[in-house]
């Protein structure tokens, strides 16, 4: 699997897009989606709420388990992906595209986000 070069990654397997007008898109990686199995329920943060880098902000439920969703950055949630709420399988079929989870107006970004290559090395272990 290939991780898009233009994205940055958290060790908790979220990806973060380059900000446009201060707003970045967040999703989970293909690696994470494969590890979860079929996602059947996505509880996403509410629009207008503040998320903190490294803190849980929702959950993803698959056939076998429930996993916390962590925000890779701090900021205010500006939009959530309603398509994923109604069809969580998008997280599996298009984790880097139609399966994005939420958008956030970034106020603070941790220094330890990974590049695509660093993330690939992180998941290879």
């Amino acid at each position: 699997m290939s991780n898009p070069q233009q994205l940055r990654y958290s060790k908790e397997h979220e990806w973060l897009s380059v900000a446009e007008d201060g707003v970045s898109t967040v999703g989970i990686t293909e690696f994470a989606a494969n590890a979860l199995g079929d996602v059947v329920y996505a509880q996403l943060p509410e629009v207008g709420t503040t998320v903190e880098a490294g803190e849980t902000c929702g959950e993803l439920e698959s056939t076998k388990s429930v996993s916390d969703l962590y925000s890779p950055v701090s900021g205010e949630v500006t939009e959530i992906n309603e398509d994923v709420v109604s069809d969580p399988s998008l997280v599996n079929s298009a984790p880097f595209e139609g399966g994005w989870l939420f958008k956030v107006r970034v106020t603070e970004e941790p220094a330890d986000l990974l590049s695509a290559d660093e993330y690939a090395a992180h998941t290879a272990g």
């Binding site: 199995g37 079929d38 059947v40 329920y41 439920e61 056939t63 076998k64 429930v66 399988s89």
Partner: protein
Amino acid sequence: MSSTEPLRHTALDAVHRSLGATMTDFAGWDMPLRYGSERDEHLAVRTKAGLFDLSHMGEITVTGPGAAALLNYALVGNIASVGVGRARYTMICQADGGILDDLIVYRLAETEYMVVANASNAQVVLDALTERAAGFDAEVRDDRDAYALIAVQGPESPGILKSLTDADLDGLKYYAGLPGTVAGVPALIARTGYTGEDGFELFVRPEHAVELWQALTKAGEGAGLVPCGLSCRDTLRLEAGMPLYGHELTTSLTPFDAGLGRVVKFEKEGDFVGREALTEAAARAEQNPPRVLVGLVAEGRRVPRAGYAVVAGGAVIGEVTSGAPSPTLGKPIAMAYVDAAHAAPGAEGVGVDVRGSHEPYEVVALPFYRRQK
């Protein structure tokens, strides 16, 4: 399972890896959890066919002139009455009536039975049978390494199997087994399964497993057969309302507590382990109904998991034993033990505490799914 024990691998291990399976530690075995989407695998078994490696199951052979008498003493069912070529669902209990395991017993010959135990309990069952065999003219043999077990399940499975065997599959009834040849490989062909569909379980020598798997894969190509992992096996059995040891069945429950008192045959001849305690358990269940195993169907999308509390009117009235999103119903479902007062289908105000939030659930009779015959 102790983490110091190395994982055991089935004879099909390399096949699973070449198919890109996601593997999981199940009762000390490295088993396929899923190959692709577990939902697709589930639906394939419901509508076409699925191929499973179940070689982790524990086979124990009991032979000798006293084999029937031993099993009648060691197990709660009337095993002596099982005809040659037939199988029986039964249980092995402790002296206090607690369930040690649920089993399928195949009568292979007048004086030969094969007992199939859950992987997690195989050693416990083997030890108990060995101990209980004292004084009987019978031998208990650990045959776990003598068999690989491949299952073909789903409505297309008879057609797929027919193309590979001359055995009389039409004459092979549900819960029957006969020796035969499949794809040139000697096999015990059993019409059993754990999916709620028609299907077969094929017990073969481990060195024949890859050959048989590949022949079945090829024969099933046009019929939509797909390899299936343990994840969909769990959702299939849950929809079919079938209990799983460690979830619906434990040593702290008797068969009567589990709503499966019918497997206990008091009328059989002679004593059996647990008879006294089970007689009391049956009377207790009559006078003071224990919690009842029911089905729950979610109104929302959150999945109840094993161990979650079932609530009504702010009080805990039961506990979820198994829960999963149901591919067939398109909603989360669960099995749960609930107080008898709340166990009737349609009981009002029943919910599950899903990590702090009380989600509404409908109480339904089991099973969730029954195949059209």
